[in-house]
Symmetry: C2
Subunit: 127 residues, 2 copies
DNA sequence: CCAAGTGTAGTATGCAACATAGTACACCTG
DNA sequence: CAGGTGTACTATGTTGCATACTACACTTGG
């Protein structure tokens, strides 16, 4: 049984879209630590994607420590981990800089951006 | 003469890196409206990239209305334009949601994120 | 006028990523 | 021990990226 939803859109790799959907589900507590996660074959069948693509998704999520492999069983949602210094720098420096540059070039106010952050922080329950 | 700097890093398309560097230069006022921008051939020579790639960069920037073509002359930095509703939605909804999801999964505080936004907003003069 | 520079368009090649299909193996569970 | 699990291959087709090269219509500046 699948416990998150996806609407595929072209232009973005399928496996990235799935990974993001899973992260969103975890962050919004639709998926909680300890919950079982679909196996490679189950995921590929339910989402009608290739087993290789499903395997790619799970491998990524394991490498990012969002899933833990239970040999012979499947995988399980893990507890959230603190960011490494490198991950922290990537977000707070690189990613946010990109966001600010794009906002500034489109003449979007600082307040609008910060309000949007606050807004998304409090409700991650979209559709 | 090139009036912005780039350090290429692998994994990201060259043309995207250049586009971003130009945006950053404009936003930080190292490039101002009316300034002349390198021609396709000049850009390809100075950055040692293929003319096609340079053309791709300029075409993108023109389509985003950051440059204006002066036929026979070259191109010129344009005034910043207000975002369309679609661009505004893309940033304030999609992009910021992605940022928040990634921050939350890495247990980064809301305050840290907002402070980083404020910080990047005031000084775009790195290195 | 005209040489030189401009943007633009086209063909072609090599490379890598993405998604697909199919097969196979070692492992653990029930 | 049958069946499910993750994992690892090979292979194909498509797409995007970067390169090389040629060509054309345009405008500038001498």
């Amino acid at each position: 049984m699948i416990n998150f939803s996806i609407k595929f859109q072209s232009g973005v790799p399928i496996y990235e879209q799935i990974i993001y959907a899973v992260k969103k589900a975890i962050v919004s507590e639709q998926l909680r630590p300890g919950d079982t996660f679909p196996s490679v074959r189950e995921l590929s069948k339910d989402l009608r994607i290739n087993p290789n693509t499903a395997q790619k998704v799970i491998a990524h999520l394991v490498r990012e420590k969002l899933l833990i492999i239970k040999p012979g069983i499947g995988s399980v949602v893990s507890e959230l981990k603190e960011a490494t210094d490198l991950q922290r720098k990537e977000i707070l420096d690189t990613e946010i800089e990109k966001l600010v540059v794009e906002a500034k070039r489109l003449l979007i106010n600082k307040k609008e951006v910060i309000d949007a952050v606050k807004s998304h922080w409090n409700l991650d329950n979209e559709e």
